[in-house]
């Protein structure tokens, strides 16, 4: 059982028996090029200082020279595991600003894609965090099932990862004739596979000992740090954008917001596992009822937003993803700000990893589901 050493929660100055260890920028457990400057005494973490900027690409600045349909393509490259949600956020923001009502069919397609993307993202999170905790089998199980979703994406929009499927006014192409059939086939298959995931890790006593009670984030802290998504919900903070500010087809369907109470690593894990079941429920409610109609409304060749400020949030796989556009009436935005969930989630790490062992820090990182280009655009 992991132990928490309370007496070591300490001050800012570096003591004689402390030493500094850089985890990253190239380190498998940081899921990219994040650098954590940790201050340790023996194995016990006294301070964690995340350093970002190793993948900074200035997307927000770049968007100021691009037109609105072009911005959509850059958002794929931020949080590439929830690429479609990011696309959708920009599209919804532009549509709301122009007060364009998209056809019902588009709403349904977008929502199904959202949930498929969430499933794919959670599968990858599951296998990557299993690998962080030393279970390499998880890696192969997760990616095996993920390929099925990628096949569905590929069939309809031709891309596996960076979809570029949403465009302002609708989606780029109509769904493939086989789409409904292959989604249903996938869900039937994955309903059988998902209990395997639980058997392998969630019910595993070694895994439970490494995660239960480790890195507790209280509800107050989650709200104070702006933690959203499954990470926030595990602490009992009801923050599901799909529930509180429904968009696309989410108002039409019934689903539960999966909540946790403890806020420890295990609860963050559990919430994501439950979300996978819930995503499948959502898809099943929608897949048979996709209405007929156009897959996009005709937009003007050059999209110009009216002067003003526009904000749209969606629930990405990691939490609340927001797009804030300031327009001065031209075809390029004056300023674009992306609110990424990973950034707020990451910076709680110093708060909750203090006093734990360095191996527990990896367990905490694993259940945060960090995507570094999302944190540092």
């Amino acid at each position: 059982m992991a132990e928490f050493s309370e007496k070591y929660i300490v001050t800012d100055e570096i003591k004689a028996d402390e030493y500094l260890v850089n985890i990253g920028p190239q380190h498998p457990s940081t899921h990219g090029v994040l650098r954590l400057l940790t201050r340790l005494e023996g194995e016990i973490v006294h301070n964690v200082e995340p350093h970002i900027g190793y993948i900074h690409s200035g997307i927000e600045k770049m968007t100021e020279a691009l037109s609105y349909p072009q911005i959509v393509h850059l958002t794929d490259r931020m949080d590439y595991l929830s690429a479609h949600m990011n696309n959708e956020a920009v599209c919804l923001c532009v549509e709301n600003a122009l007060q364009v009502e998209v056809p019902e069919r588009v709403k349904y397609i977008r929502t199904i894609f959202d949930e498929l993307q969430r499933l794919a993202s959670h599968q990858l999170w599951w296998c990557a965090s299993g690998m962080d905790l030393g279970a390499l089998t998880a890696f192969f199980y997760g990616l095996r099932d993920r390929e099925d979703i990628l096949d569905i994406f590929e069939e309809t929009c031709g891309a596996r990862l960076t979809l570029n499927y949403s465009v302002p006014g609708g989606v780029m192409f109509d769904i493939h004739p086989n789409f409904q059939k292959s989604v249903k086939a996938f869900i039937t298959k994955f309903r059988k596979k998902l209990p395997e995931y639980d058997k392998l890790l969630t019910d595993n006593i070694i895994f439970q000992n490494r995660t239960k009670g480790v890195g507790v984030l209280s509800k107050e802290d989650a709200i104070a740090f702006g933690v959203t998504g499954p990470t926030g919900r595990a602490s009992g903070f009801s923050c599901d954008v799909r529930k509180h500010h429904p968009y696309s087809a989410y108002p039409y369907i019934k689903f539960d917001e999966k909540m946790g109470t403890d806020g420890d690593s295990f609860m963050r894990w559990k919430v994501r596992m439950d979300e996978m079941w819930e995503s499948m429920n959502i898809i099943e409610q929608l897949i048979d009822n996709i209405p007929e109609g156009d897959f996009a409304v005709k937009m003007k060749g050059v999209i110009k937003l009216p002067e003003g400020e526009f904000y749209q949030r969606v629930e990405s796989a990691r939490g609340e993803f927001g797009v804030y556009i300031v327009s001065d009436g031209k075809k390029n935005p004056y300023r674009v700000k992306f609110r990424s969930p990973g950034f707020s989630n990451l910076f709680t790490i110093n708060h909750i990893a203090k006093g734990w062992k360095i191996a527990d820090l990896v367990a905490i990182m694993a259940t945060f589901d960090l995507v570094i280009p999302d944190i540092d655009r």
């Binding site: 190239q26 190793y54 997307i59 770049m62 850059l74 490259r77 280009p373």
Partner: protein, 178 residues
């Protein structure tokens, strides 16, 4: 390859050892053996920066399975790795780190630039103030794989190309020349 003429063969005291251009029996054959072994166990470094890293993971997983070509053992430390797959963009803050990782890999070492970002800066070529326009500004690159991100099959093809390149190497001859 091998001995080019009878005259040369007689001129050389130890014709079996390689002392002239074209090579002789032992060293060319040894080269072939070493290259065969090397090209079939190239261990990549687990180094991923952007979306391409996910496709790199997909190549490692069961459907595409890069283990078929001897690439399976992804190592977390450069001291045990043979190659870097630069999967994603490199910016000015990351460039010295990449250089350092490359320097820490023991010779012979190889580099695959995977994806548009690593090849040329890709989608960040214009208007970005922080992206290095191609990883070959920092370290020498052997194989370029275009795509954003490339399909797993494209990366597998790059692996095969790298194997071809390794098989053409002349390790021992170079040393004798010095």
């Amino acid at each position: 390859m091998g001995i080019t003429s009878k005259k040369e063969f007689e001129k050389n005291d130890f014709p079996i050892l390689d002392s002239y251009e074209g090579g002789s029996i032992i060293l060319t054959q040894l080269d072939a053996l070493v290259n065969w072994a090397r090209s079939n166990s190239v261990w990549p470094l687990t180094f991923g920066t952007r979306c391409c890293a996910i496709e790199f993971m997909a190549v490692g997983a069961s459907r595409h399975d890069m283990a078929r070509f001897g690439y399976e053992v992804a190592r977390a430390t450069p001291r045990q790795a043979d190659m870097i797959i630069i999967s994603g963009s490199i910016n000015y803050k990351m460039a010295p780190v990449l250089k350092r990782l490359y320097d820490q890999i023991a010779d012979p070492k190889y580099v695959i630039a995977m994806g548009a970002c690593a090849v040329s800066g890709g989608p960040f070529y214009y208007n970005s103030y922080s992206i290095v326009k191609g990883a070959d500004h920092v370290i020498p690159v052997d194989i370029y794989v275009p795509g954003c991100p490339p399909r797993p099959e494209a990366l597998l093809y790059a692996f095969l190309q790298l194997q071809k390149k390794i098989k053409r190497e002349k390790n021992f001859k170079k040393q004798i020349k010095k």
